[in-house]
Point group: C2
Chain length 206, copies 2
């Protein structure tokens, strides 16, 4: 609002000597909306960015939380060990948990910067910083999602050539939980991609 | 060069009525280097972008080619089947091959657009398009790399909780080849990340 008002004062200054009262008013009407529209569009983008960011935080937290609480004990056990499946057993799932937690943590920290770019829609430095860090977060989230997907697929289907049997027959609940976490991570990935798209559009010079 | 010259003509136009010949010449000297420097920096970025793109093409092609030629027959066989390991046996490796081929194909197609932005460093539309498509390519390459890494890790180390045995004892050469492909894919990922960083810097309005 403040920057918009200061523009209204600036523009008629150049035409003040030539035009009368009527044309002065007209000049203000013609020029101000163009400037406000551009700032307004960027501000709108920044607001969508914050909303997407909150969505991505929730998806990343959900992915990490679902993965972190995934364990299943089978109702029977032998003398030596109990049959239990947990994310701890698979390095890929551990990596998934760590990566998604890191992404969620980064996204939470990035929200204040995103809010600053609502207040100051023309600050391109913040937007550039967010874009670059978003790309790093995207890479982390995507690699975690890819690795977990490969293992979940293997757990569901097994692999005959390497004699890796499907474990989802025994640990059905564990597989369902882990699959949900993977789906949540893909939601995170898609949301972060849209955030990057939005940042790139906002960075583009007009 | 053309756009720089057109600016030299433009700028003194506004001052032509007031200033003499001397101030006209001075105005031209002051404005042209600033404009050329900015364009030159962008042109330099565009050249680096093309170089990075060619590097990424080679890494992606190497990853796809290494994975595509990875198979190993063991020197003994039973009556029923021969012991053979190939990327065909693992869905993750098939996905890896397809994804890296797609990324390499996209990167080849993107080189002409990148060259256009050397010739016209101020065309931000092309740069925006390349940035968005690069992000998509990055996601594809990263997910393939993540999935293949998870399976390669499993092939090397096995997993005791799910009774998946390491197969690299038998298929050592196969594992080495596949690991090289994974390393090449990570080189691709890092190169594409730098390309995105460069595009974002070039997009930033000055």
């Amino acid at each position: 609002m403040k920057s918009g008002d200061s523009t209204t004062i600036d523009v008629p200054h150049h035409e003040a000597s030539g035009g009368g009262g009527a044309s002065k008013g007209k000049g203000a009407i013609l020029t101000v909306p163009a400037r406000q529209e551009k700032g307004g569009m960027r501000r709108g983008m920044a607001i969508i960015d914050v909303v997407l960011r909150i969505g991505a935080i929730m998806a990343a937290l959900a992915a990490a939380a679902i993965m972190g609480t995934s364990d299943q004990n089978l109702p029977f056990f032998t003398q030596f060990f109990q049959f239990e499946a947990s994310y701890d057993d698979m390095p890929s799932f551990q990596f998934f948990l760590i990566a998604m937690s890191l992404v969620a943590g980064y996204l939470v920290l990035s929200v204040p910067f995103s809010i600053v770019s609502i207040v100051r829609p023309h600050a391109s430095g913040i937007r550039l910083l967010l874009l670059i860090l978003d790309v790093v977060a995207l890479t982390l989230a995507t690699s975690a999602a890819g690795a977990a997907t490969a293992i979940v697929y293997l757990a569901h289907n097994g692999n005959s050539s390497s004699n890796w049997l499907a474990i989802c027959n025994q640990f059905g609940d564990f597989c369902k939980t882990v699959s949900s976490a993977v789906v949540a991570s893909f939601v995170t990935v898609v949301t972060v991609m849209f955030m990057i798209l939005l940042s790139a559009l906002a960075l583009r010079k007009h």
